[in-house]
Assembly symmetry: none
Homo-oligomer: 117 residues x 2
DNA sequence: ATATTGTTCTAGCTCTACTAGAACAAGTTC
DNA sequence: GAACTTGTTCTAGTAGAGCTAGAACAATAT
């Protein structure tokens, strides 16, 4: 898997990392049960700190996309690869866009309901 | 126009302010040529600093949504009133994707609510 | 002329993100 | 069982963004 990070972006590094994994899983580049690189190793290869990678991994865990276990590393869950991850990413993008327009969650939900008919 | 701001949000105050104006324009609550409140006045009524409001206004100017002139204030441009089209398209895409996964509108709305936090 | 309103500058405070290093705990591997 | 791997937790320091504050200034409106 290829993970790229832009240090000059205003998006935090750990968030970029999480987004990269989310996207790779959604596009089928990663499968359930597959292991992500160890945090120390990935930190080295990206030129960032161990804690930064771990924070990204922990965010993915909070979203239910990976399981973290000592001695074993970060393993993709079913949820990460069942397409939900892709939808999640799309939803995140829409939410960002809606926020930029100053919409509340309910404003956006109205739009969704309209579109669902 | 009603501008509300949440000091406890992780979204910067100046960005919230810009979003509020963007959204009001996108929803048609504001029209091209209309004047926004003066920065000092708005800062007072929101309980934030003059510079914070000005930074929000400047961001809107950088986006081409308002023109700023001394003695005159912030005036909405034509461009400010065309925002919804992109979001509508993104929402349509998300709904299609959700349908493909067999989700109901309420399933999707749960996702939106989660993401909005 | 006078008042209004954005512009610019300096300064200080707080919080987040990132880095760094160390010790620790749970799991894997042999 | 022993050694190794890997995430977890803790402390600590640095840099930058965001916000506030106050003042002086410049262009425009009335």
């Amino acid at each position: 898997m290829l993970i790229r990070i832009d240090p000059s972006s205003s998006e935090p590094l750990f968030a970029q990392l999480a987004a990269a994994v989310r996207g790779a899983a959604a596009r089928g580049e990663l499968r359930a049960g597959e292991r992500l690189p160890g945090a120390r190793e990935l930190a080295d290869s990206l030129g960032v700190n161990l804690h930064t990678v771990l924070r990204g991994y922990q965010q993915l865990r909070d979203e239910g996309l990976v399981e973290l276990r000592r001695g074993r590393g970060a393993v993709l869950t079913e949820q990460a690869t069942n397409g939900l991850a892709g939808l999640r990413q799309a939803v995140a993008d829409v939410v960002t866009q809606a926020r930029r327009l100053g919409m509340t969650d309910n404003d956006l939900i109205d739009l969704i309901r309209t579109e669902f008919r």
